[in-house]
């Protein structure tokens, strides 16, 4: 994987109300939700919308990223900008929806990085090229690999459907 740049750093317990404020929930299409990603973090939202941020850039987060509501818009809005989430850990519903939609998430319990740092992900580690430190990646639950390999839950469920008797 190419080097990825940290474009936004957030703390612990970043809720889905921060990632995708409730007032935009009537918008559901993955083609439309990216406009409201981090809508209340005005400067980051502006940078996303103006395409200043290249695909494959990273958000670095603390513990319990994506806690709160089950709204899937909080995942699809980040996926739409092709962001990578590197978090100390991730709340349950957000983690599952990220796997289902193919959002690139990396659980890295000890990660330390600042905005502007360059990261390299290889060999089960996140290497912070700016600080020279490396941090272990916690693998995603094994049972989820089939969904990831299928390209997401829609494709995976379709495969199970076709395998079943009509």
């Amino acid at each position: 994987m190419a080097n990825i740049k940290v474009v936004f750093k957030v703390g612990d317990d970043v809720s889905t109300d921060i990632i995708y404020p409730g007032r935009f929930m009537a918008t559901v299409l993955p083609t439309e939700t990216p406009a409201f990603a981090f809508a209340d973090s005005a400067e980051f939202n502006r940078r996303l919308k103006s395409k200043e941020i290249p695909a494959g850039s990273a958000i670095v987060a603390g513990k319990n990223f994506g806690c709160g509501s089950s709204r899937e818009q909080a995942v699809s809005c980040l996926k739409g900008h092709d962001l990578v989430i590197v978090a100390r850990n991730i709340a349950r519903i957000f983690l599952q929806s990220a796997i289902n939609l193919g959002l690139n998430i990396i659980i890295c319990p000890a990660i330390q990085a600042e905005e502007g740092d360059e990261l390299e992900i290889a060999g089960g580690q996140v290497r912070n090229l700016t600080s020279g430190q490396s941090y272990a990646i916690e693998p995603l639950p094994k049972a989820r690999q089939a969904i990831i390999d299928a390209g997401g839950l829609v494709a995976y469920t379709r495969r199970l459907l076709l395998a079943a008797k009509p």
Partner: protein, 436 residues
Amino acid sequence: MGMTYVQKLLAKACGRPQVAVGDVLEPAVSLAMSHENGALVINQFNEIYQGTGREAKVWDPDRIAFILDHRVPAETAKTATNQKKIREFVAKQGIRKFHDIRGDVGGICHQILAENGYVRPGFVVVGTDSHTTTHGAMGAFAFGIGATEMASVWTLGKILNVEVPGTIKVVVKGEFPENVYPKDFILHLIGKVTAEGANYKVFEFHGEAIRSMSTSGRLVLSNMSVEAGATAGMVPPDAETQRYLREEAGVQSALDMFGPDPDAVYDRVIEIDVSQLEPQIACPHTVDNVKPIGAVAGIKLQQIVIGSCTNGRLDDIETAARILKGQRVADGTRLLIFPASWRIYREAMKRGAILDLATAGAVICNPGCGPCLGIHQGALGDKEVALATTNRNFKGRMGNPNAEVYLCSAAVAAASAITGAITDPRTAAVASKGAR
């Protein structure tokens, strides 16, 4: 080896004699619930069937519930169009557990599922709403999922990749003092455990204070278990569960009553004596930022909200009405009442509580989720401060990132409405009226 309640439930659901923590299961789903975000589920469901040459039919229309509650009646053309799409879908699929925007059968999804007896002990319940944990109060394993996960459930009738969760046993001892409620207890527990302290685990509630608690109170505990990160918050069913389901929810079929094994193995046991518990407040901007009321009493309030799936039931509204009867909501403070369902609203009308509240200056709103997440009525202005009986106080939650939300019980909310500031319901002016 003995099994916890959720282990036994999942073993039964999967037809296995034994399951261990971490086992990956695919249990059949007893009930699958969606609200307005079902519009997205419908898109994903159709996407699954795209190109398969098969007709997109849900696996079992009788196991799907649809409730319109988030933005009711619709506030924009976009919402109305989403709701119209849902009506067309439920008609086409033959889904009968559909609760439209109506004064007879409408309300907030979690209250609707409970009061209609759609959930029973032993059920596996999934909902496209994180507060689906509510239904653990009736002995179900109930949890929130995303829209695409729900589309998969509608297709397959089972939920993929459920890891059997570890269990935190919560033993609640003692008797609640006057003016202290289940809401105060769950806020205290979340403060103690933290917002991520129960991630990927379930709470199992026990103890004399749970046994003597009404289902209405248990629904509060299960509802807010997710705020500690718990996958579910479960009360093993007992005589009160049976009473509620038979007498209030109209369930006639047999109930599968069971409990954890006596030698069940728990990840952790937390014992809390509520007999000395004070009213608790969750302070901005996280639900685990919990303080006893004395630490924040006197903070001025521009809006107070009593309602939601957490604390909008008849006992909450009657508590508020008892405290506010003959009193007046302070100038400069708005009091909004959002009953959890129209059944509750009508009963509160009959008993006079609604009249007492409106006479005191409260605004009675439609049953619905709106103000809790800032999407339909009750938005806050810049730098305003709100006190609410709802379940979340995240930044921006009540529609404005430049406002603050505190969380509390209905008694604290009502006492505070009189003064316009956070007020302890045990103070002399309101104590005699607030007592249960």
